[in-house]
Protein backbone atom coordinates (compact mmCIF):
# COMPACT_ATOMS: atom_id res chain seq x y z
CA UNK A 1 0.00 0.00 0.00
CA UNK A 2 1.35 3.43 -0.84
CA UNK A 3 2.45 5.45 2.17
CA UNK A 4 1.33 9.03 2.74
CA UNK A 5 3.89 11.73 3.36
CA UNK A 6 2.74 14.64 5.49
CA UNK A 7 5.05 17.66 5.64
CA UNK A 8 5.35 19.01 9.18
CA UNK A 9 6.29 22.05 7.27
CA UNK A 10 8.79 24.80 7.81
CA UNK A 11 5.98 27.13 8.91
CA UNK A 12 3.89 25.66 11.69
CA UNK A 13 2.04 27.46 14.49
CA UNK A 14 3.77 25.36 17.11
CA UNK A 15 7.35 25.78 15.98
CA UNK A 16 9.33 28.83 17.10
CA UNK A 17 11.70 28.54 14.14
CA UNK A 18 11.36 26.88 10.73
CA UNK A 19 12.24 23.20 10.53
CA UNK A 20 10.82 20.76 8.03
CA UNK A 21 10.08 17.15 8.93
CA UNK A 22 8.56 15.00 6.21
CA UNK A 23 6.56 12.39 8.09
CA UNK A 24 6.08 9.07 6.33
CA UNK A 25 2.81 7.76 7.71
CA UNK A 26 1.15 4.39 7.94
CA UNK A 27 -2.49 5.30 8.68
CA UNK A 28 -2.05 7.16 11.96
CA UNK A 29 1.43 6.10 12.99
CA UNK A 30 4.66 7.72 11.95
CA UNK A 31 7.06 5.31 10.31
CA UNK A 32 9.94 7.61 9.49
CA UNK A 33 10.80 11.29 9.66
CA UNK A 34 13.04 12.99 7.10
CA UNK A 35 14.38 16.35 8.27
CA UNK A 36 15.33 19.34 6.15
CA UNK A 37 17.04 22.37 7.65
CA UNK A 38 18.50 25.49 6.09
CA UNK A 39 15.66 27.98 6.22
CA UNK A 40 17.42 30.42 8.55
CA UNK A 41 21.00 30.17 7.37
CA UNK A 42 22.67 33.56 7.47
CA UNK A 43 26.35 32.77 6.96
CA UNK A 44 27.47 34.19 10.31
CA UNK A 45 30.56 32.02 10.57
CA UNK A 46 31.84 33.48 7.32
CA UNK A 47 30.93 37.00 8.42
CA UNK A 48 33.03 36.51 11.53
CA UNK A 49 36.10 36.08 9.31
CA UNK A 50 35.54 39.46 7.65
CA UNK A 51 35.15 41.55 10.80
CA UNK A 52 37.48 42.64 13.58
CA UNK A 53 37.63 40.14 16.45
CA UNK A 54 36.14 42.77 18.77
CA UNK A 55 33.21 43.42 16.45
CA UNK A 56 32.56 39.68 16.19
CA UNK A 57 31.12 39.76 19.72
CA UNK A 58 28.07 41.54 18.29
CA UNK A 59 27.74 39.00 15.48
CA UNK A 60 27.99 36.02 17.78
CA UNK A 61 25.33 37.44 20.08
CA UNK A 62 22.88 37.46 17.23
CA UNK A 63 23.22 33.77 16.42
CA UNK A 64 20.24 33.05 18.66
CA UNK A 65 17.42 35.18 19.93
CA UNK A 66 16.93 33.28 23.17
CA UNK A 67 20.29 32.03 24.40
CA UNK A 68 22.09 35.10 23.11
CA UNK A 69 24.13 35.97 26.20
CA UNK A 70 25.74 32.55 26.51
CA UNK A 71 26.98 32.65 22.93
CA UNK A 72 28.88 35.85 23.51
CA UNK A 73 30.14 34.53 26.84
CA UNK A 74 31.61 31.42 25.18
CA UNK A 75 33.24 33.44 22.42
CA UNK A 76 34.75 36.01 24.75
CA UNK A 77 36.09 33.31 27.08
CA UNK A 78 37.74 31.61 24.10
CA UNK A 79 39.47 34.78 22.89
CA UNK A 80 40.64 35.57 26.43
CA UNK A 81 42.08 32.08 26.66
CA UNK A 82 44.06 32.49 23.41
CA UNK A 83 45.44 35.88 24.40
CA UNK A 84 46.17 34.91 28.01
CA UNK A 85 43.97 37.61 29.52
CA UNK A 86 42.78 37.12 33.10
CA UNK A 87 39.67 39.10 33.89
CA UNK A 88 38.75 40.43 37.33
CA UNK A 89 36.60 38.31 39.67
CA UNK A 90 33.78 40.83 39.69
CA UNK A 91 33.43 40.43 35.93
CA UNK A 92 33.18 36.64 36.29
CA UNK A 93 30.39 37.01 38.84
CA UNK A 94 28.53 39.53 36.71
CA UNK A 95 28.69 37.12 33.78
CA UNK A 96 27.26 34.31 35.88
CA UNK A 97 24.43 36.49 37.18
CA UNK A 98 23.36 37.55 33.70
CA UNK A 99 23.82 34.01 32.36
CA UNK A 100 21.55 32.48 34.98
CA UNK A 101 18.92 35.17 34.43
CA UNK A 102 19.06 34.32 30.71
CA UNK A 103 18.61 30.64 31.57
CA UNK A 104 15.47 31.41 33.61
CA UNK A 105 14.10 33.41 30.70
CA UNK A 106 14.79 30.59 28.25
CA UNK A 107 13.13 27.93 30.40
CA UNK A 108 10.04 30.08 30.94
CA UNK A 109 9.83 30.46 27.16
CA UNK A 110 10.06 26.69 26.76
CA UNK A 111 7.29 26.10 29.31
CA UNK A 112 5.02 28.48 27.46
CA UNK A 113 5.70 26.84 24.11
CA UNK A 114 5.09 23.33 25.37
CA UNK A 115 1.81 24.47 26.94
CA UNK A 116 0.83 26.04 23.62
CA UNK A 117 1.83 22.77 21.94
CA UNK A 118 -0.93 20.86 23.64
CA UNK A 119 -3.39 23.72 23.34
CA UNK A 120 -3.28 25.13 26.87
CA UNK A 121 -3.17 28.78 25.84
CA UNK A 122 -3.86 30.37 29.21
CA UNK A 123 -0.88 28.57 30.78
CA UNK A 124 1.26 29.81 27.88
CA UNK A 125 0.15 33.36 28.66
CA UNK A 126 0.90 32.92 32.38
CA UNK A 127 4.49 31.78 31.83
CA UNK A 128 5.23 34.49 29.29
CA UNK A 129 3.73 37.10 31.60
CA UNK A 130 6.37 36.17 34.16
CA UNK A 131 9.02 36.13 31.48
CA UNK A 132 8.22 39.81 30.89
CA UNK A 133 9.36 40.57 34.43
CA UNK A 134 12.74 39.00 33.68
CA UNK A 135 13.05 40.96 30.45
CA UNK A 136 12.28 44.16 32.36
CA UNK A 137 15.12 43.35 34.76
CA UNK A 138 17.45 42.84 31.79
CA UNK A 139 16.42 46.19 30.33
CA UNK A 140 16.84 47.91 33.67
CA UNK A 141 20.36 46.61 34.17
CA UNK A 142 21.77 46.60 30.64
CA UNK A 143 19.56 48.54 28.24
CA UNK A 144 18.09 45.82 26.09
CA UNK A 145 15.77 42.90 26.62
CA UNK A 146 17.46 39.84 25.16
CA UNK A 147 20.52 40.86 23.13
CA UNK A 148 22.25 42.76 25.87
CA UNK A 149 25.82 43.36 24.58
CA UNK A 150 27.28 43.21 28.06
CA UNK A 151 30.34 41.11 27.21
CA UNK A 152 33.56 42.31 25.66
CA UNK A 153 37.02 40.88 25.35
CA UNK A 154 38.58 41.67 28.71
CA UNK A 155 35.51 41.88 30.92
CA UNK A 156 32.15 43.54 30.94
CA UNK A 157 30.87 46.77 29.41
CA UNK A 158 28.52 47.66 32.25
CA UNK A 159 28.51 47.42 36.00
CA UNK A 160 25.62 46.87 38.36
CA UNK A 161 24.98 48.91 41.50
CA UNK A 162 23.21 47.94 44.71
CA UNK A 163 19.98 49.34 43.30
CA UNK A 164 20.18 46.89 40.40
CA UNK A 165 20.85 43.97 42.72
CA UNK A 166 17.84 44.86 44.84
CA UNK A 167 15.64 44.95 41.75
CA UNK A 168 16.97 41.56 40.62
CA UNK A 169 16.37 39.95 44.00
CA UNK A 170 12.84 41.35 44.17
CA UNK A 171 12.05 39.92 40.74
CA UNK A 172 13.51 36.56 41.73
CA UNK A 173 11.16 36.43 44.71
CA UNK A 174 8.16 37.26 42.56
CA UNK A 175 9.06 34.67 39.93
CA UNK A 176 9.62 31.98 42.53
CA UNK A 177 6.24 32.62 44.14
CA UNK A 178 4.42 32.51 40.80
CA UNK A 179 6.30 29.43 39.63
CA UNK A 180 5.31 27.53 42.76
CA UNK A 181 1.67 28.23 41.88
CA UNK A 182 1.66 26.80 38.41
CA UNK A 183 4.40 24.21 38.27
CA UNK A 184 1.81 21.87 39.78
CA UNK A 185 -0.13 22.19 36.53
CA UNK A 186 2.77 20.82 34.50
CA UNK A 187 3.49 18.05 36.97
CA UNK A 188 0.12 16.91 38.35
CA UNK A 189 -2.66 17.97 35.98
CA UNK A 190 -4.57 15.02 34.53
CA UNK A 191 -4.87 16.33 30.96
CA UNK A 192 -1.26 17.49 30.80
CA UNK A 193 -0.07 14.11 32.03
CA UNK A 194 -2.15 12.36 29.37
CA UNK A 195 -0.26 14.34 26.72
CA UNK A 196 3.26 14.00 28.12
CA UNK A 197 3.73 10.84 30.18
CA UNK A 198 5.09 8.00 28.09
CA UNK A 199 5.45 10.17 24.98
CA UNK A 200 8.84 10.43 23.33
CA UNK A 201 10.74 7.91 25.43
CA UNK A 202 14.52 8.01 25.28
CA UNK A 203 16.45 5.41 27.25
CA UNK A 204 19.90 5.89 28.77
CA UNK A 205 21.51 3.74 26.07
CA UNK A 206 19.90 5.92 23.39
CA UNK A 207 21.25 9.02 25.08
CA UNK A 208 24.77 7.62 24.97
CA UNK A 209 24.42 6.36 21.41
CA UNK A 210 22.97 9.58 19.97
CA UNK A 211 25.09 11.88 22.19
CA UNK A 212 22.17 13.95 23.47
CA UNK A 213 23.07 16.96 25.59
CA UNK A 214 21.42 19.16 28.16
CA UNK A 215 18.04 18.45 29.75
CA UNK A 216 17.42 15.71 27.16
CA UNK A 217 20.25 13.67 28.68
CA UNK A 218 19.56 14.65 32.28
CA UNK A 219 15.93 13.54 32.03
CA UNK A 220 17.01 10.00 31.17
CA UNK A 221 19.35 9.58 34.09
CA UNK A 222 22.68 10.83 32.70
CA UNK A 223 24.00 13.10 35.45
CA UNK A 224 26.20 15.49 33.47
CA UNK A 225 26.10 19.27 33.78
CA UNK A 226 29.04 21.18 32.32
CA UNK A 227 28.79 23.80 35.05
CA UNK A 228 30.11 21.20 37.51
CA UNK A 229 33.55 21.55 35.90
CA UNK A 230 33.77 24.93 37.59
CA UNK A 231 34.40 27.39 34.77
CA UNK A 232 33.94 31.12 35.34
CA UNK A 233 32.45 31.87 38.78
CA UNK A 234 30.62 28.54 39.08
CA UNK A 235 33.46 27.17 41.20
CA UNK A 236 32.34 29.42 44.05
CA UNK A 237 28.69 28.38 43.85
CA UNK A 238 27.10 25.33 45.39
CA UNK A 239 24.74 23.19 43.30
CA UNK A 240 24.05 19.69 42.00
CA UNK A 241 22.90 18.67 38.50
CA UNK A 242 19.16 18.13 38.20
CA UNK A 243 18.48 14.53 37.14
CA UNK A 244 15.29 12.57 36.50
CA UNK A 245 14.95 8.99 35.31
CA UNK A 246 11.62 9.04 33.45
CA UNK A 247 13.05 9.61 29.97
CA UNK A 248 9.77 10.92 28.54
CA UNK A 249 8.38 14.43 27.86
CA UNK A 250 7.04 14.69 31.39
CA UNK A 251 10.48 14.08 32.89
CA UNK A 252 12.02 16.78 30.67
CA UNK A 253 9.42 19.31 31.79
CA UNK A 254 10.21 18.47 35.41
CA UNK A 255 13.96 18.84 34.77
CA UNK A 256 13.51 22.29 33.25
CA UNK A 257 11.19 23.47 36.02
CA UNK A 258 13.65 22.30 38.68
CA UNK A 259 16.49 23.96 36.78
CA UNK A 260 14.58 27.25 36.88
CA UNK A 261 14.37 27.01 40.66
CA UNK A 262 18.05 26.11 40.75
CA UNK A 263 18.95 29.16 38.64
CA UNK A 264 16.99 31.45 40.96
CA UNK A 265 19.03 30.03 43.83
CA UNK A 266 22.30 30.49 41.90
CA UNK A 267 21.49 34.15 41.19
CA UNK A 268 20.90 34.73 44.89
CA UNK A 269 24.15 32.99 45.83
CA UNK A 270 26.15 34.94 43.24
CA UNK A 271 24.73 38.28 44.36
CA UNK A 272 25.61 37.52 47.97
CA UNK A 273 29.20 36.53 47.08
CA UNK A 274 30.13 39.13 44.44
CA UNK A 275 33.40 40.95 45.30
CA UNK A 276 34.20 44.61 44.69
CA UNK A 277 36.66 45.60 42.01
CA UNK A 278 37.16 46.48 38.38
CA UNK A 279 34.97 45.08 35.65
CA UNK A 280 37.41 44.98 32.73
CA UNK A 281 41.09 44.98 31.82
CA UNK A 282 42.81 46.60 28.86
CA UNK A 283 43.52 44.18 26.04
CA UNK A 284 46.27 44.84 23.51
CA UNK A 285 47.30 42.78 20.55
CA UNK A 286 45.57 40.23 18.34
CA UNK A 287 44.77 36.57 18.91
CA UNK A 288 47.08 33.91 17.54
CA UNK A 289 46.41 30.23 18.19
CA UNK A 290 43.41 27.96 18.52
CA UNK A 291 41.14 27.11 21.40
CA UNK A 292 38.00 25.14 22.18
CA UNK A 293 35.61 26.88 24.55
CA UNK A 294 32.61 25.05 26.02
CA UNK A 295 29.68 26.41 27.94
CA UNK A 296 26.39 25.13 29.33
CA UNK A 297 23.57 26.88 27.51
CA UNK A 298 19.92 26.37 28.50
CA UNK A 299 19.55 23.70 25.82
CA UNK A 300 22.77 21.85 26.48
CA UNK A 301 26.47 22.12 25.85
CA UNK A 302 27.76 24.46 23.15
CA UNK A 303 31.27 24.07 21.73
CA UNK A 304 33.20 26.95 20.17
CA UNK A 305 36.31 26.43 18.06
CA UNK A 306 38.23 29.66 17.45
CA UNK A 307 41.40 29.98 15.41
CA UNK A 308 43.34 33.19 15.11
CA UNK A 309 46.33 33.86 12.89
CA UNK A 310 47.80 37.01 14.40
CA UNK A 311 45.79 39.55 12.39
CA UNK A 312 42.68 41.25 13.66
CA UNK A 313 40.43 38.98 11.58
CA UNK A 314 39.90 35.45 12.80
CA UNK A 315 40.92 32.51 10.66
CA UNK A 316 37.97 30.29 11.59
CA UNK A 317 35.04 30.33 13.97
CA UNK A 318 33.05 27.13 14.30
CA UNK A 319 30.07 26.76 16.60
CA UNK A 320 28.44 23.46 17.55
CA UNK A 321 25.17 24.25 19.25
CA UNK A 322 23.20 21.87 21.49
CA UNK A 323 20.18 21.64 19.22
CA UNK A 324 22.43 20.34 16.46
CA UNK A 325 23.34 17.44 18.75
CA UNK A 326 19.75 16.84 19.82
CA UNK A 327 18.07 16.69 16.40
CA UNK A 328 19.02 13.02 15.78
CA UNK A 329 17.05 12.14 18.91
CA UNK A 330 13.85 13.38 17.26
CA UNK A 331 14.53 10.99 14.43
CA UNK A 332 14.78 8.22 17.03
CA UNK A 333 11.69 9.20 19.02
CA UNK A 334 9.25 9.88 16.18
CA UNK A 335 8.91 6.45 14.53
CA UNK A 336 6.10 4.57 16.23
CA UNK A 337 4.33 7.63 17.60
CA UNK A 338 0.90 8.96 16.71
CA UNK A 339 0.38 12.03 14.55
CA UNK A 340 -1.00 14.30 17.33
CA UNK A 341 2.12 13.63 19.42
CA UNK A 342 4.52 14.90 16.77
CA UNK A 343 4.45 18.59 17.84
CA UNK A 344 5.05 17.68 21.48
CA UNK A 345 7.98 15.41 20.64
CA UNK A 346 9.53 18.06 18.39
CA UNK A 347 9.13 20.77 21.01
CA UNK A 348 10.49 18.69 23.84
CA UNK A 349 14.08 19.02 22.63
CA UNK A 350 13.60 22.82 22.87
CA UNK A 351 14.60 23.38 19.26
CA UNK A 352 16.54 26.52 18.47
CA UNK A 353 16.96 26.19 14.75
CA UNK A 354 18.54 29.60 14.30
CA UNK A 355 21.39 28.36 16.50
CA UNK A 356 21.64 25.17 14.45
CA UNK A 357 22.15 26.97 11.16
CA UNK A 358 24.04 30.12 11.90
Amino acid sequence: MAKTIIPFGPQHPVLPEPLQLKLVMDEDTVVEAIPAIGYVHRGLEKLAELKDFNQTVYIVERVCGICSFMHSMAYVRGIEDIMGVVIPERAEFLRVIWAEIARIQSHLLYLGLIADGFGFESLFMETWKDREKILDVMEFTTGNRVIISANKVGGQTKDMTQEHFTAILKTMDEIEAKLKEYDKVFINNYSVKKRTVGIGYLSLEDVKEYAAVGPMARASGWAWDLRQTGYSAYKYLDFEPVVETGGDCHARNVVRIRETFQSIDLVRQAISKIPEGEIAVQVKGTPKGEVISRIEQPRGEAVYYIKGNGTKNLDRLRIRTPTFANIPTILKMLPGSQLPDVPIITLTIDPCISCTER
Binding site: Y58, E139, F140, T141, K158
Partner: protein, 118 residues
Protein backbone atom coordinates in the same frame (compact mmCIF):
# COMPACT_ATOMS: atom_id res chain seq x y z
CA UNK B 1 -15.07 23.03 41.90
CA UNK B 2 -14.74 25.42 44.82
CA UNK B 3 -11.24 26.45 43.78
CA UNK B 4 -12.59 27.34 40.35
CA UNK B 5 -15.15 29.75 41.86
CA UNK B 6 -12.53 31.39 44.05
CA UNK B 7 -10.24 31.90 41.03
CA UNK B 8 -13.10 33.36 38.97
CA UNK B 9 -14.17 35.78 41.70
CA UNK B 10 -10.57 36.84 42.33
CA UNK B 11 -10.02 37.61 38.65
CA UNK B 12 -13.36 39.38 38.31
CA UNK B 13 -12.36 42.14 40.71
CA UNK B 14 -8.72 42.47 39.66
CA UNK B 15 -7.31 45.27 37.49
CA UNK B 16 -6.33 44.33 33.93
CA UNK B 17 -2.81 42.99 33.62
CA UNK B 18 -2.11 44.89 30.42
CA UNK B 19 -1.12 48.51 30.38
CA UNK B 20 -3.94 50.85 29.31
CA UNK B 21 -2.03 52.55 26.52
CA UNK B 22 -2.32 55.50 25.54
CA UNK B 23 -3.53 56.58 28.96
CA UNK B 24 -0.57 54.92 30.66
CA UNK B 25 2.66 55.24 28.72
CA UNK B 26 5.65 53.03 29.50
CA UNK B 27 8.51 55.20 30.64
CA UNK B 28 11.86 53.86 29.44
CA UNK B 29 14.48 52.87 31.97
CA UNK B 30 17.56 54.96 32.51
CA UNK B 31 19.88 52.54 30.70
CA UNK B 32 17.56 51.75 27.79
CA UNK B 33 19.35 52.06 24.47
CA UNK B 34 17.09 54.15 22.28
CA UNK B 35 18.86 56.09 19.53
CA UNK B 36 22.23 57.54 18.73
CA UNK B 37 22.66 61.28 18.86
CA UNK B 38 25.64 63.36 17.77
CA UNK B 39 26.41 66.85 19.05
CA UNK B 40 27.51 68.06 15.65
CA UNK B 41 29.19 71.26 16.90
CA UNK B 42 31.88 69.26 18.70
CA UNK B 43 32.41 66.66 15.98
CA UNK B 44 35.76 66.79 14.19
CA UNK B 45 34.79 64.30 11.44
CA UNK B 46 37.73 62.01 12.19
CA UNK B 47 35.86 58.89 11.06
CA UNK B 48 36.78 56.63 13.99
CA UNK B 49 33.10 55.92 14.71
CA UNK B 50 32.53 54.75 11.14
CA UNK B 51 35.51 52.42 11.30
CA UNK B 52 34.44 50.87 14.61
CA UNK B 53 30.77 50.36 13.73
CA UNK B 54 30.08 46.60 13.39
CA UNK B 55 26.93 47.22 11.34
CA UNK B 56 28.43 49.83 8.94
CA UNK B 57 25.76 52.34 9.88
CA UNK B 58 27.89 55.50 9.88
CA UNK B 59 29.35 57.44 7.00
CA UNK B 60 31.84 60.20 7.71
CA UNK B 61 33.70 62.38 5.24
CA UNK B 62 36.46 64.60 6.60
CA UNK B 63 36.98 66.86 3.58
CA UNK B 64 33.32 67.75 3.14
CA UNK B 65 32.43 67.75 6.92
CA UNK B 66 29.71 65.18 6.43
CA UNK B 67 28.34 62.85 9.15
CA UNK B 68 25.48 60.53 8.40
CA UNK B 69 23.80 57.81 10.43
CA UNK B 70 21.66 55.12 8.84
CA UNK B 71 19.30 54.61 11.75
CA UNK B 72 17.84 51.41 10.29
CA UNK B 73 21.23 49.71 10.46
CA UNK B 74 22.25 50.95 13.89
CA UNK B 75 22.13 48.26 16.58
CA UNK B 76 22.87 50.71 19.46
CA UNK B 77 25.84 48.65 20.53
CA UNK B 78 27.67 51.64 22.05
CA UNK B 79 31.04 51.02 20.30
CA UNK B 80 31.08 54.45 18.61
CA UNK B 81 30.27 56.19 21.90
CA UNK B 82 33.21 54.47 23.63
CA UNK B 83 35.74 55.16 20.87
CA UNK B 84 34.81 58.76 20.01
CA UNK B 85 37.79 60.99 20.95
CA UNK B 86 35.69 64.11 21.41
CA UNK B 87 32.88 62.36 23.35
CA UNK B 88 30.20 64.02 21.23
CA UNK B 89 28.15 60.86 20.66
CA UNK B 90 25.51 59.72 23.13
CA UNK B 91 22.82 57.08 23.19
CA UNK B 92 19.60 58.46 24.61
CA UNK B 93 16.90 56.37 26.18
CA UNK B 94 14.04 57.63 24.02
CA UNK B 95 13.38 55.57 20.94
CA UNK B 96 12.84 57.25 17.59
CA UNK B 97 9.24 58.10 16.91
CA UNK B 98 7.71 56.63 13.77
CA UNK B 99 8.12 58.52 10.52
CA UNK B 100 6.20 58.74 7.30
CA UNK B 101 9.00 58.08 4.84
CA UNK B 102 12.04 55.83 4.84
CA UNK B 103 14.83 58.41 4.96
CA UNK B 104 18.35 58.28 6.25
CA UNK B 105 18.90 60.47 9.27
CA UNK B 106 21.20 63.29 8.21
CA UNK B 107 22.68 65.32 11.00
CA UNK B 108 22.64 69.05 10.27
CA UNK B 109 23.19 71.56 13.08
CA UNK B 110 20.42 74.00 12.11
CA UNK B 111 17.21 71.99 11.83
CA UNK B 112 15.01 71.62 14.93
CA UNK B 113 14.46 67.92 14.24
CA UNK B 114 17.99 67.25 15.45
CA UNK B 115 17.93 69.17 18.71
CA UNK B 116 19.26 67.19 21.64
CA UNK B 117 16.56 65.64 23.83
CA UNK B 118 16.98 66.76 27.42
Amino acid sequence: MASMFSIISKNFFKDPITRLYPKVVRTPFERTRGRLFNKIEDCIYCGICARECPADALKVDHTNTFWELNAFRCITCNQCVIKCPKKCLTITNERRSSGTKKTIHLQKPTTTENQAPK
